[in-house]
Symmetry: C2
Subunit: 232 residues, 2 copies
């Protein structure tokens, strides 16, 4: 059948076409790598490379000894890049600025303790700040920082560098949970954001850990009209 050697992309595309065209259905088992390699006239490592890609894309599931199966519930998998807010603003060609609204050492409220996956209370630094693009409100962030994990943050001048930027640059994280939802601007948020009271705002919530130690959780309230889109 096939004569020319196939590249891993060709192998991937061939299998993907089989799945997407319905020749393979969700839940179906695929031949083992070695058989596919023989059939497609390539090395097993090439099939492996193709499968690695398909697996990461969420199209197939692989298990040792269990073989490879078409994912039973097809999904659309999307990847987003969330940059440092300053970079995001500057990439839009706007002038970046930020205002520290409040910084205070507080015990973590129950919602934050829950977000951190903890039971016991946690000492936190609460930081509220407004990111500006060309002087106009861009993102309002309400942030809790676990001072036990990040004690140095207390020595940082948060009027000079935003907690967002300092943390991303200085605190590696091993786990990051993200959540998106919509809220209506309450009077206070509306005033800070220069939005109409009741306006619909996209919220990006992010919590990070290093190992099992919580670092920070932040509620980023975006300005009216803000859109988040997949990288191209």
């Amino acid at each position: 059948m096939a004569e020319a050697r196939r590249s891993w992309r060709e192998v991937r595309d061939a299998i993907r076409a089989d799945i997407l065209s319905g020749r393979l259905s969700p839940g179906d088992r695929l031949p083992r790598d070695e058989d596919l390699a023989r059939r497609l006239n390539c090395a097993r490592s090439t099939v492996q490379r193709a499968m690695q890609d398909l697996s990461q894309a969420g199209l197939v599931e692989r298990r040792r000894r269990g073989g490879t199966r078409v994912r039973p519930d097809p999904v659309t998998r999307a990847t987003f890049d969330i940059p440092i807010t300053r970079h995001e603003v500057e990439a839009r060609g706007a002038r970046y600025g930020h205002q520290l609204i409040r910084a205070a050492e507080l015990p973590a409220p129950p919602a934050v303790v829950a977000a951190f996956d903890l039971h016991s209370p946690e000492r936190t630094l609460y930081v509220e700040a407004l990111h500006l693009a060309d002087g106009r409100p861009y993102i309002l962030e309400e942030r809790w920082i676990a001072t036990r994990t990040v004690p140095e943050i207390r020595a940082v001048d948060l009027t000079r560098i935003s907690a967002n930027e300092w943390l991303v640059l200085n605190r590696p994280y091993s786990r990051c949970d993200l959540r998106f939802y919509a809220i209506q601007a309450d009077p206070r948020v509306a005033r800070l954001m220069g939005a109409a009271p009741g306006a619909a705002l996209l919220v990006i919530e992010r919590t990070t850990w290093i190992g099992s130690e919580p670092i920070t959780t932040v509620r980023a309230i975006t300005a009216p009209g803000y859109q988040l889109q997949t990288r191209t």
Copy 2:
């Protein structure tokens, strides 16, 4: 120095630690794979595997002949799985239902033509449908389907299977653009969703193509309180 052979994960973690700790700064160039391999006591292919991972995670950028550099603008990269709505509802333990509100062949409005990256007008099937969880509104979708690319859709009984599910199962796509934002429910949407007028709703907009041919663009308006989160 190092004696034990390193696995690609160890190599990846070592390099990642160098980046995140600041020993390597954004924009810095890394040694070439071969030197890293010698230094870390492993094969070049192992370094290659580690770099592949770091590159996909957005931590480094690699170019042939240009070498490897730490990405100049650090980002948080997040991956979402957007399942078929029926699966999503059922995974929450709820009973799925859906109602076809309207289906009509219409010329694509300008916004849709733009979303499809086209200039000329396009014949579309407009479909409006409501997805239900336990009988309650879950997602309202407004969808335009390019009938030139997907003529078979006209023969599908959209009261029996949702356009969402039919398309995902029958129409492979090669490109998918996603966009999230918040809207306020206008009176009609509020009535359909059983929400208060003016409620903040998360909208997921998705456009797919096969090759350069548009398939569909959909505006999925979610019920109040809907949250989208990264897969765990």
